[in-house]
Amino acid sequence: MAQDIENELIKAIVRQKKLDAATINRGSLLTELGITSLDAISIVYDIEEQFGIEVPNEALQGLQTVGDIVDSLTRLIEDQA
């Protein structure tokens, strides 16, 4: 499940930022990927639509890496399943 989320998240980041998926992994820093706050909420919107989940604002605080987002989303999907 976490792998699905990670794959979909990376695809969403690629769509938003036009990056090469091969350069993105769990450890990638959001700031290094050039992901601004507006990018982040657009990416999260994609994931919400895809997985049918609601991501509250609190779940987006303090996220620094792609892995942080994956973990936060995994928890939400499990809670909302």
Partner: protein, 391 residues
Amino acid sequence: MSALGLSTRQFRDALRQGKPGIGPLTGLPTEHLKVRIGAQVPAYRPQDCFAAADLPLLDRFSQFALLAAREAVADSGLEPTALRAAAAVIGTGCGGKGTDEETYQRLYREARPRVHPLTIPKGMPSAAVSQLSMQLGITGPVFSVASACASAAHAVGLALILIRSGVVDVALAGGTDAPFTFGLMKAWEALRVLSTDTCRPFSKDRSGLVLGEGAAVVVLESRESARRRGAVLHAELAGCGMSADAAHITDPSVAGAARAMRAALADAALLPADVDYVNAHGTGTLANDVSETRALHQVFGDHAARLAVSSTKSMHGHSLGAAGAHELIATVLALEEGMMPPTANFTEAGEGCDLDYVPNEARQGRLRVALSNSFAFGGLNAVLALRAADR
């Protein structure tokens, strides 16, 4: 017209008491909303204020503008001949959203084959100012202005330019917005800048903005014209500064804000050290409050520590296209009455917020010069500079 009441007197009393008008949302379905608070106009019934025959053309945002304008004109003592030659410039952020949503509901949800014929004249963004001109007999330059949260401040600035350049002697200026529809609430939620708690500008535990609604209108007049007819002056609009960030569509820019404040001071022939009070844009978002504080430091230097800075959005909410006008009136009242409205809901200063924000309680003091800031999404900035009226 605001969350603080239906008149300037009620507005003033609430500001003085530091009493916020933020509460649970009513009049729209909140079941599917995460954010269920707002600063709505209390105890307002359109049927008490307008003839039934007039209401079909009056979206809520037009109603607010008309009521605010009526009060301003009554207070000014302007004769119909003066109004006929006047200008009217009204800012709005979202225009007739209520009308739009009713229309979409009918078409898309109910699959009805037709919409009401008055949909366009009722909902168009210029409807409010057109109605104002029709009802008050204003036949000079009349138009609406849109710059998101700075709309009303820009409207006032443009009216000032019209008067200074001799196009008119008198202008009605202000702003109006009625954003509490289901669709707009969802849109604002999606941007993740709304608080579910309350509006706490400059506080450590601030969590975003709280939307507001309403309208505010002022009568601007050239000094000569006012003197000739012995008008009572509430304050002097000394200048206006406008700038654009040319940076980000939502993030604020310290440089852009500072430029607008400096431009306002220069336009008013004022020095930073002349300013006693600043009515901040102060939305209560993490981004704005720090950015605005930095900009104030840049413009005012050492004098920043001596400024009183407060955000009245903590009480009337972020009324979008009306905010600049609500705040202008709060600033005029501050100068007139020697009373600085507080920043309500203040707990403890946030990181990077180190100025005197007049926390929670209004403060007496003789004020001579004040600024009112509006720094909008899309980097559009307008700052108004005011002087206390000559006594």
